[in-house]
Structure formats: C-alpha cells, structure tokens
C-alpha cells in the first residue's frame, strides 16, 4: 500500500513550519513520528496534499523540568526517550509507567508523545495520562503561542483544537504542589493492541495526605474519561483501604465500557476498579517514605 501523492516539506525552524502550514489552507498535515499518520495515509483515511515533516527542526526533542517544576515535553520527544529515562520515575511516575506500554518497542522508537496527543485517538494512552496530570498542549501559530488544557484539546475522535496554521510545539505538566506519585496500568490482549482497559493515576502528596489527584481512563468509553469524582474523593485523605475502595468504585462507575471482543462491560468495569486499587495500594510505601 502507498498513500496518494503529496508534496513533502522539511522545514528546519518552527517559524518555517508555521509559514508552510499557514500557506496550505488546511490541506497540510504535520509529520512527527508518523506511527499513526503514515498507516492512515497508506489506508487513504488521510490524504494530505502537503506533508510538513518537523523531524529536521532542532530543539524539539526534549523532556525536562523547568526551575519552577513545570514539566515540558517537546514535539519530537519519542516514547522511547521517556521509557529509557531512568530518572523519570522519580519526577513523573505516571508518565514513566505509561511510556513502556505504548504500542510496541519498534513503534516507540519513532512515535512521539505530542504527536500521539494531537492524533487524538479516542483510545490513546497519553490522553489519559495527561488528563490525570492536568497537562496542556502549547500551540504555536503565526500570532505566537497559546496553551490549551489537554482536557479541552480533543473535540472529537481524531480531532483537536489546533488551528490549521498551528503547530503543537510541546506538552506541559504544571508544577506539583506535593510529592508526585502515581502510575499507569494497561490491560492488553497482546503487545501493540489497544487497551482493553487502562488507568492513569496521578497524585501529589504532602506527608500521607493527598493534596491533588487526577485519574484518567483509557479504552472504557467513547473517548478518554476523566474520573474526577474518584480523584476528588482522594484529596485531603490518607490512602487507607476505605478511601482506595471508594475511589476504585467511583472510577468504575464513571467508566462507560461496551462489551466487545476484548471483554464484557462488567469485566472492563472490574478491571478499572482493580487497576485503581492496585496503583493506589502500591503507592503506600512511597507515602510512608515521604513522611
């Protein structure tokens, strides 16, 4: 299979990329890792007239914390960059848990985090992680930069709020107000499959007490689900058994799974509750350590 014809542009600056996008009148697509876009082009689900390859733009392949604690992921940060960063677990435990379970190892060497968020697959893993973390997308256009919260960024399956002339230059996570803890668990039938169910939990702890929490669910609804009630029930609490059980139940309640070849509705709800419990229970030693 091969895609329909397109013209290929390989800008070397963000400014140049934005100029190309502006000129294209919405007929251009940005190529970062291409691990979803290229298959879609081959299947002719996507047929952009112009492909703007951003891989030659220096300075976008980073992931790092600012002095104020804001964590930034550049547009060319690949899944493998996070997977292989041994220090990430201490800084961003939810991301560190998610990176190794994205797609398969070969896809992870090319695919990017920001590209994945922009692709806006309703069953994508990073969207749950970023909504649990309260993250945002930074879009740059001809008139400068703007920040769009990940919870608003996706406005439909495979659709996002970027204007045609905007480039998503980075994803950001706000500074923590406590010690970060969290995790991502994903059940998949085989490596590379979509999640049967996935759960992202992000916590910020002050001593044993949860001061901020976010929970995102993958694969158990028409799109990413923010389990806000489940997260809120944790805030102000220590992670004792009854609190954990309550959060697990609320997350399971808010999920909207459908019975399909990956499992029944009841099974998927059970997995959501199990994963919330498992992540929160395994955090307890870290909580003790922090006090």
């Amino acid at each position: 299979m091969y895609p329909s014809r397109f013209s290929y542009e390989a800008p070397t600056t963000v400014k140049e990329a934005i100029a190309l996008l502006s000129k294209a009148n919405g007929e251009a697509k940005v190529l970062a890792g291409g691990q979803s876009l290229v298959p879609m082009m081959k299947l002719r689900f996507a047929a952009p007239q112009i492909l703007v390859d951003i891989n030659n733009i220096p300075g976008l392949a980073f992931h790092s914390a600012d002095p104020d604690g804001t964590y930034r992921i550049g547009a060319l940060c690949r899944h493998v960059d996070l997977e292989k960063d041994v220090e990430l677990a201490a800084q961003q435990p939810t991301m560190a848990a998610a990176a190794p379970v994205i797609a398969d190892p070969i896809v992870r060497t090319r695919g990017t985090v920001v590209g994945s968020l922009c692709h806006a697959d309703p069953q994508g893993d990073w969207a749950s992680v970023m909504s649990a973390l309260g993250g945002s997308i930074v879009a740059e256009g001809p008139n400068g930069r703007r920040t769009i919260p990940c919870s608003d960024f996706v406005n439909g399956p495979f659709q996002n709020l970027l204007e045609p002339e905007e480039l998503a230059v980075e994803a950001t996570v706000p500074p923590p107000v406590g010690t970060r803890a969290g995790g991502y668990l994903k059940l998949e039938r085989r490596i590379g499959d979509f999640a049967t169910a996935g759960v992202a939990v992000s916590l910020e702890l002050s001593g044993e007490q949860v001061v901020r929490a976010g929970i995102g669910l993958t694969g158990v609804g028409p799109s990413t689900i923010c389990a806000d009630a489940a997260a809120e029930t944790l805030v102000g609490q220590a992670l004792d058994q009854s609190t954990i059980e309550r959060a697990a139940q609320l997350a399971s309640d808010v999920s909207q799974p459908r019975s399909d070849h990956r499992g029944s509705e009841a099974y998927k709800r059970h997995i959501v509750a199990t994963f919330v419990t498992r992540i929160l229970s395994n955090l307890q030693p870290a909580t003790e350590q922090a006090t």
């Binding site: 299979m1 091969y2 895609p3 329909s4 014809r5 397109f6 013209s7 290929y8 390989a10 190529l31 291409g34 691990q35 290229v38 298959p39 082009m41 081959k42 299947l43 492909l51 390859d53 891989n55 493998v80 797609a103 398969d104 190892p105 070969i106 896809v107 060497t109 090319r110 490596i191 590379g192």
Partner: protein
C-alpha cells in the same frame, strides 16, 4: 508478476515531483531520486535491491520490515524514503561481513530460530539493537525487545534462545578481546 506490495516504482514518471536524497545503507552511500510517497521499505527493496527487508502486514503491526535507522529499530513500511535523507540505515544484509556471519545470525542458525524465515530479518535487527544497548539481557528483556516482531511459526522459544546464545557468544568475543589486550 510483481507482488502487489511492489507496484510502486522507485523512480516515477517525469511529471511527478521527485526529491533527491543521500542515504547511507549498510555503510554504502546511496544517492537516489524518489517520489515523496515512496516508503522506505520499497526504496530498500526496489531501488536498492535489498530484498532481505520483508513487507509483511504493511499496516505497522508485524515488524517484518524492521531496519535500523541510525541504530534504532524502525518499521520501514511506516516511514517515507525521503525521511532517510542524511541518515544511516542497516538492513539484514548489513549484519554479516564478507567472511563471517554476525553472532546473531549464528545464534538463529544454531538454535534453529526460524521456520519459514519471513520474520527473521526483522527479528535479527531488533535483536541487534537490543544487544548493542544491553549486551547481557535476561530472557524477559529479550522477549520485551522482540515484542514488536511477530512470528507465526515458531512460538518464539527458539528465537529467544537464539538471541540469548548470540549475547553469550558476543560476551565471549569481548572477553577474549580483553584478554588479548592485557597480554
């Protein structure tokens, strides 16, 4: 008749905009003119005649088309040839030297790490990337590294053994090299 996967000519009609690219394939500099939509896998197979790179599923699932792109495994059916401009590609043909097989190839031979052989080039390149980074992997690490490469024949047992054997023989090679140096 050519395979359906190969109907796309590497060099296209005169009216199609083509781009010139220079790519280092298995240590050899190649300059080609390609249509932007030409896939890297097709460039390797048709323009360069290196048919060891196999196109299996053609949908980014199976990993048969895996090549090393600047040393990292990528699915060559999921990249455009133009993206390889200025980069290094290693295909399965680049593993063996003129006189001997790569220890990974020896491993697959000795442990019978293949049946039909279709997935083997991709398996060996994923293994190559793993052993370059982690010369002494555990069985779990081998299975993890190969989890993007599908094999429908073997059940993976002998493939994993082959990679572990290759790791062992590479360690022996390193050890005897070190001994040679101290002497």
């Amino acid at each position: 008749m050519t395979s359906l996967f190969e109907v796309m000519p590497a060099e296209t009609a005169v009216d199609t905009p083509v781009r010139k690219l220079t790519v280092n394939v298995n240590g050899k500099q190649e300059t080609l003119k390609v249509e932007p939509r030409l896939l890297l896998a097709h460039m390797i197979r048709q323009a360069l005649g290196l048919t060891g790179t196999h196109v299996g599923c053609d949908t980014t699932n199976c990993g048969a088309c895996t090549v090393l792109f600047d040393g990292a495994p990528v699915k060559s059916c999921t990249m455009f040839a133009v993206q390889a401009d200025g980069h290094d590609i290693t295909t399965v043909e680049g593993l063996a030297s003129a006189s001997e097989l790569d220890p990974i190839q020896e491993g697959f031979k000795d442990e019978h790490g293949l049946q039909c052989g279709f997935c083997t080039p991709g398996m060996m390149l994923s293994a190559k990337a793993l052993l370059t980074e982690n010369p002494n992997p555990t069985e779990d690490e081998v299975r993890w590294a190969l989890s993007g490469n599908l094999c429908r024949c073997t059940g993976y047992q002998n493939i994993v053994k082959a990679v572990l054997l290759a790791a062992e023989s590479l360690q022996h090679q390193e050890a005897s090299k070190d001994e040679g140096e101290t002497l």
